[in-house]
Symmetry: C2
């Protein structure tokens, strides 16, 4: 029996001679240094789990400034130390925080942030996806993020793609403080777009969340508190001494390399593929992120 | 801190008074008996894992008849007893079978099946999705399955949605025997549509696969054979004595109830939602399946 099957990308980097059609991963791996943008250490949330695993989240202050400011204040205040992951719902979300506790919020956290569910399109430089979207009039990329946008309304919003992080909230008008966060671990639940504040995306360690045991209570909550996954600390990278500070870069979505990457994502012709799709949905594009080279 | 957040469906069944907008789950729960179609026990593959968990797969002989006939023969021949899950790639697939072993195929298994990557549109009664698709000229539902279709070419294909099961293969012209199977455990990798045979979907126990530890080798293969997850047996439901045989039903996708379900999926107005999307992508619809009532 053949082992292979479903070649996605990584293996081909070594195997494919230059003349062959490139994979998206090969294009990202060969991207010139000028293509990459450093992520600000104030935009990196470093979550260390009790089991030794680490999850790193890139924050998106351009899209939800008050919620992101809250999240920075919560991190600096050590609010998540001793908190836990308490909900894991299959094909939906992992959620963490202090849940129903009455732990006081650190000074500076806005208790009732505005509903940052979309922002002005103005001020963003947009690369259109070039294919249809079922959840917004248009889809594309801005500042390294996938967005839905509405040129006639002049609005843009982040989208619930795999690994994206949003702010848990109660029924409207509650908008959530940012203390309870969730990450998408299944097919993009984009009906949530524009109904909740998206504040970033997991750029390292999503598999430490997505492989957790599913909760058996309604909505995937764990039945017993003993099932919760402890969180040791959540810090901004900027709080970590430079020597041990994680550093990442994101591909400039206005770069020619990203244009090439997007084109190939929609038209896979590398070895495994017989029929290129001729299209791609927004959440299948996955803007490239990498560790910053030493 | 509020517990809630991200109400999906289940909780609201009990909570919502009749006048409120219904959730998709409520519509499925209230569907009349005439809406449901029994799944043939020859179309149910019952996989029992070594850890005691069970995964049930509904086969789709209408779309890949030779591959499905192979899978039935492999099950009847006990070919997967003692096999294992040997690949778990995050946001992509779980894969199982006998991998690189030389275990002989049971009598009756076609060693080189045709490329059943699409079928004739003729013979299918289609309910259109009604919204755009990035991977096929049209998307919709037929016989309880999500499909992409091309009216001008007269073809239709199953789609790589969450939980859908395909046949691992080597590079073309190999099409796979059906011995190595995979299930989608992430955002729908629809670029694979029409490049590989889809043979069914997981209708029970997908969380037993999606929560497995990710493999650390290229493409998510486990590094050591000791990490593989043992499979005790894979049988057709029709091989199991009637008293202990699992039985399921699928919603008729041509029924008025499914039309209602689809409409609400694209226009969520229940308590949690502020802005209905006004659209839905094919893989977010999830055709309702239930255990057959006693």
């Amino acid at each position: 029996m053949r082992a292979l099957l479903l070649v996605s990308s990584a293996l081909l980097i070594a195997a494919a001679p230059p003349a062959k059609p490139k994979t998206p991963t090969e294009i990202a791996a060969a991207a010139p240094a000028s293509t990459w943008r450093d992520i600000d250490p104030d935009d990196l949330l470093v979550m260390d789990l009790g089991n030794g695993g680490r999850v790193v989240i890139q924050l998106a202050p351009q899209f939800a400034p008050v919620h992101v400011a809250n999240i920075r204040a919560l991190a600096k205040g050590g609010w998540w130390s001793g908190s836990s992951i308490y909900r894991v719902q299959d094909n939906y979300v992992v959620q963490w925080g202090n849940n129903e506790s009455t732990k006081p919020l650190p000074v500076g956290v806005v208790a009732k942030p505005p509903a940052e569910y979309h922002r002005a399109l103005k001020g963003l430089t947009v690369r259109p996806l070039g294919y249809a979207d079922d959840y917004a009039p248009k889809a594309g990329f801005a500042s390294g993020w996938p967005i839905g946008y509405d040129p006639s309304a002049g609005t843009a919003n982040l989208t619930h793609c795999y690994g994206y992080v949003g702010v848990g909230r109660d029924l409207s008008p509650d908008t959530g403080t940012g203390g309870e966060l969730y990450a998408v671990i299944g097919h993009a639940p984009r009906a949530l777009d524009r109904n909740i504040a998206i504040v970033g995306r997991v750029i390292e360690g999503i598999e430490r969340m997505s492989s957790l045991s599913r909760g058996t209570e309604a909505l995937g909550f764990y039945k017993e508190a003993s099932q919760n996954v402890p969180i040791s600390s959540v810090r901004l990278a900027s709080e970590i001494p430079a020597a041990g500070r994680p550093a990442f870069q994101v591909m400039d979505t206005m770069s020619p390399t990203f244009a090439d990457y997007l084109r190939v994502k929609a038209n896979r012709k590398d070895d495994f593929f017989i029929r290129p799709a001729g299209g791609v949905d927004l959440c299948s594009v996955n803007v490239p992120v990498r560790k910053k080279p030493a």
